[in-house]
Amino acid sequence: MTPHATSTDPVKALSESRADSESPHTSDAATTPLDGVPSAHSLTEHFLDRLERIQEDAVAVSRVLPGAVARCVQSGGLGEALTPAVERALLLISRRNPRSLAEALTPSVGAALRRSLWASMFHFFRRVNFWMLQHVSMKGMQWRMEAQRSGKSFDEVVTEHTQDSPVRQVFLIHRETGLVLQEAQSLSTSSPQDWDIISGMLTALQDFIHDSFNLNQDTPLETIKVGDVTVLIEQGPYAAVAGILDGSMRPEYATRFKDACSRIHGEFSKELSTFDGDTAPFDTCAPYLDSCMHNLINPDRLPILPQTMLVLLLPFLLLATWTLPGVVDSVRWKNYVLHLADEPGIIVIDHGRKDGAHFITGLRDPLAANPQDLLVQAGFTPSDVSSHWEPFQGLSSTLALARARRLLDPPDSVVLDMRDNVLTLEGTATRDWIRSARESLQRWIELDKFNMDGLSISNAGAQSQWLRFLKHIEREPGLSVITKGIDTDGRFTIVGLADPLARTPDALLAETGLASDEVVQQWAAYQSPDPRIAEKRARHLLNPPESVNLSVRDGVLHLEGEAPAPWIRLAETLSKSIPGVRSLYVDHLVNTDQRNLKQAIGRIEKNVFQLLAGAPDLRPGQADKLTQLTKDIAQLRRSARRNNIDFLIEIRGHTAPTGATQRDTLMAESLARSFLELLSRRSEDTRLFTRRSLGSTPPDIGGATLDKPDDRLVSFKVLLLD
């Protein structure tokens, strides 16, 4: 705000503001009063100009005003600044035009008034009952005796017997994080649970329900009931007050919780909006939470005394005995007349009371029921009633149409007509109306005297499409209906669970041809245990190689064919998390890495090498065989690693017998060493090998002997380690 706004002289303020503004208007500064005495003409000019600018300013300010107010609201202080002005404005309105104010307030005030009227009547009844209970009942006498016996005051005894504190625990929960800011519990409860966790789960559960059914975030979830325990939640903008109740909800609690919640928000608004994990500032709000747990008179513990009913109803009873006979008689008469009007073939024209007696006149088809009989049934004596009935005949006239109309009460969409003595009905109506019309007509006239072929069911097409849609959903695995019905706009509604792997309900809907705006759908995602879906999910999750055949039967996931070891391990882990799959059957699944491992071992162990007698080298002609051996060893290493298996290759030395066992052993040992040496020269990893001397025992391989004196052999054995 500029300082000019506070200036007391408006003309001066305007001229000053103009003098220091930098708009083009300043160029005609020669006409301002500052330049000495201006002419009358220039003065007029000046004010016209000024007026125009004030209007322009107003337009400009109006553009920025909403933004400016919004900013003030954010930074605070606007409320305080405006309060006096608003108060004054309200005062003025209420003086000048109280009606408009009243009209604005009536809707909310009216409802509140009704509620409080009802509540105060109820309150009055309860107080009378309570008083009677203490002073004119057996219970009251017992309490008095108890008070005398125990030495307590009568009031104390009454309190003990009639009040309780069913609110066990109360929490203040931070809405955004689900953290407990403060808690209070009644003295009698012990709590082993961790309320932080429960509060977090409660918050997550609320989110889950809100997300699943697309509820607005501000729709409060007021109570959750589990067995004998009720959780009551009162949501505020930043925090919720939640309480655990023994037993069920009563309106008094909601009021208390609401009250506590709004008080806490009033007093702790700053702490709540800036909460960063430190709960210490909320220690002082404990009294508000405690207030939710104060004792309450429990109406369930106060029997409603017959005496109370009697006292309160006495005036009504007296009034009733005074007027009852007349009332009973007139109710009976009314029922009789209504009964006659329902009777086919009878039309009541007039009825009432004349000279203290009932009279009735009307038309009657000779085939219709006898009104006199009905009179007796209704409890009247025929001689006390003056009845006058004119006969009328059959279906031959417009009278018949009128009767039909009266009998059937058709909707506007149905046209009634008489053609060749046949009553015809045409148009559309609901299924129920058509059924009841057919039943009435069948009771009233013969079958060939009416024709309803021209009637069709309104909206029958949509109805059958809807039924088809429901059947499709029922047949579709992975879709499950929770509720279905028709809402007040006549649209079909359906709420259910849908597995993301199932066909979408929209696709099914499209197949039935039912327009999608006729159906309100809410689907929450879930994982269906249906075997067909479980199979899909398994295929999706495991992504099996082409060589594997996958199927789910009776809750068992069957994997057949062949696959590498890492994939099999992954499949074993992942299959545990598929709903609808209890166990895994892999007896017909070949582990290809295992197979490769066995084959490599077989090839390696078939080898026998001949060594030179004198030097650590092979006899000539075995180079290719050695190359093949190193390839097989490489293959063995690969497969073993993929199977998570460790191994050692034992190199065994064998020599032709020399006569001394000791010598044979040493000789064979040095053969194995020589061969290992050979391998290490070919840069094999020597840690994979171990040596063993078999002395003069020949290799356990077909055709290998130690018959010739210079036979020097090595063979192999693969040892698998766990």
Partner: protein, 165 residues
């Protein structure tokens, strides 16, 4: 001594070991079945830092779809996140990057600690040290952990606690 309470979230691809890590870190009295029914399970662990005690409320999420189940209401109000990768599946790194971007879009930047889990499975290990450098270059604090042996778990959670204190 005052107690500070903080909400943190477990994030990461399916089956990387989020639930197992929480189980390793927390002795829980509540069953894991809430994970599949409500989709979320909340656990609590009290940690002693230098000057204060902190209660960590650890939200664990269930979902096989990696990204969709991370909703704004799950992340709302979290002071930090534990982002979990599986050291034997390289693709979980890409998913982690996607999740990181999604968090920043939904709730803005908060401290994140990255756990490369299953480090006991050396034979199938697929993450190289260059990859780890790349993660550190993103500003992540990276730990190699195992929910099976407990290696690195305590340190990772404590580091996050210090970062959000």
């Amino acid at each position: 001594m005052t107690v500070i309470k903080k909400k943190v979230c477990m994030l990461g691809a399916f089956s990387v070991g989020k639930t197992s890590l929480v189980r390793q870190f927390v002795t829980s009295v509540f069953s894991d079945k809430y994970l599949t029914t409500v989709g979320v399970k909340v656990n609590k662990k009290s940690i002693t830092l230098e000057t204060t005690d902190m209660d960590l409320l650890i939200w664990d999420i269930y979902g096989e779809d990696n990204l969709q189940s991370i909703s704004p209401s799950y992340l709302r109000g979290a002071a930090g996140h534990l982002l979990v990768l599986d050291g034997t599946r390289r693709e979980t790194f890409d998913i982690a990057v996607e999740i990181d971007e999604k968090i920043e879009r939904l709730t803005g930047k908060v401290p994140i600690v990255v756990l490369i889990n299953k480090c006991d499975l050396e034979a199938d290990w697929e993450i190289t040290s260059e990859a780890i450098e790349k993660m550190e270059a993103r500003g992540w604090r990276v730990f190699c952990t195992s929910a099976k042996t407990g290696q690195g778990v305590e340190e990772a959670f404590k580091t996050l606690a210090m970062a959000i204190y």
